[in-house]
Amino acid sequence: MNVIQVLFWILSAMALVSALMVLLSKNPVHSVLWLVAVFFAISGHYILLNAQFIAIVNLIVYAGAIMVLFLFVIMLMNLNKDTEPQKNIWMKLAGAISAGCLLMILVSLIKQAPELQAKTAMMNEGGIGLIANLGKALFNTYVVPFEISSILFLSAMVGAVVIGKKD
């Protein structure tokens, strides 16, 4: 049990607990904060996998921008525990059970998969996650998708403005 494994378990536990708390919190603001915690944990995992660029981008994009937007919207709408719509208990139960079933089935599937036996993910080493390598790949092989994604961004921005505009 080396330090990486310890960190892996800690981060995993943190991610799972936070993810569950996202669901279980009655208050949407709490949910957002728990989700930020999940993202931190996942970013921690990325760092363990030596995918530093993804890790930091995950933080900037998700924690720094997307979740702030969520928080913004929730605060603007002044949502809290009291305004939270509740599903009836049976629907909740059905949802939880079917999600659980799916998890069970998928886990059993992975357990059987022969291709995955004895495969490991490279931890804390290997240079592909570094920004130089990713940048080269992004601006050589994937330059067209990259430019298209910028167009996507632009159109999403325009779309958001158009939708959100008070008329």
């Binding site: 990486i4 969520f70 959100g164």
Partner: protein, 111 residues
């Protein structure tokens, strides 16, 4: 780290996201659950990328195998960000009209 651990972790996060979508009625929470699912997939992509990199490294010390997975993660984030900006705008409009973020208010197509 055995790749299965990452797969299990991702699956667990993904199914938690599904459970969130299924059990909540607040559109924003559902949206967040979707983001959670996307992140679970991202984590899996990175893990797989490192798995393939590990396999390739055993043969060749200097290689770029597995870069694609991380690039995909990058694009998933791009799409997620675009989706959030539009999605939140829609939710805001919905709230402005219905004074609620309950997705069950959105059943007007029913009739």
């Amino acid at each position: 780290m055995p790749i299965q651990y990452y797969i299990y972790l991702s699956l667990a996060l993904f199914c938690i996201g599904i459970a969130g979508v299924l059990t909540r009625r607040n559109a924003i929470i559902i949206f967040m659950s979707v983001e959670l699912m996307l992140n679970a997939v991202n984590l899996l992509l990175v893990a797989f990328s490192k798995m393939h990199h590990a396999v390739a490294t055993a043969v060749d010390k200097v290689n770029n195998v597995g870069t694609d997975g991380q690039i995909f993660v990058f694009f998933v984030m791009v799409v997620a960000a675009a989706e959030v900006s539009v999605g939140l705008a829609i939710i805001v409009m919905m709230y402005r009209n219905a004074h609620s973020v309950d997705v069950n208010f959105l059943n007007r197509l029913k009739n």
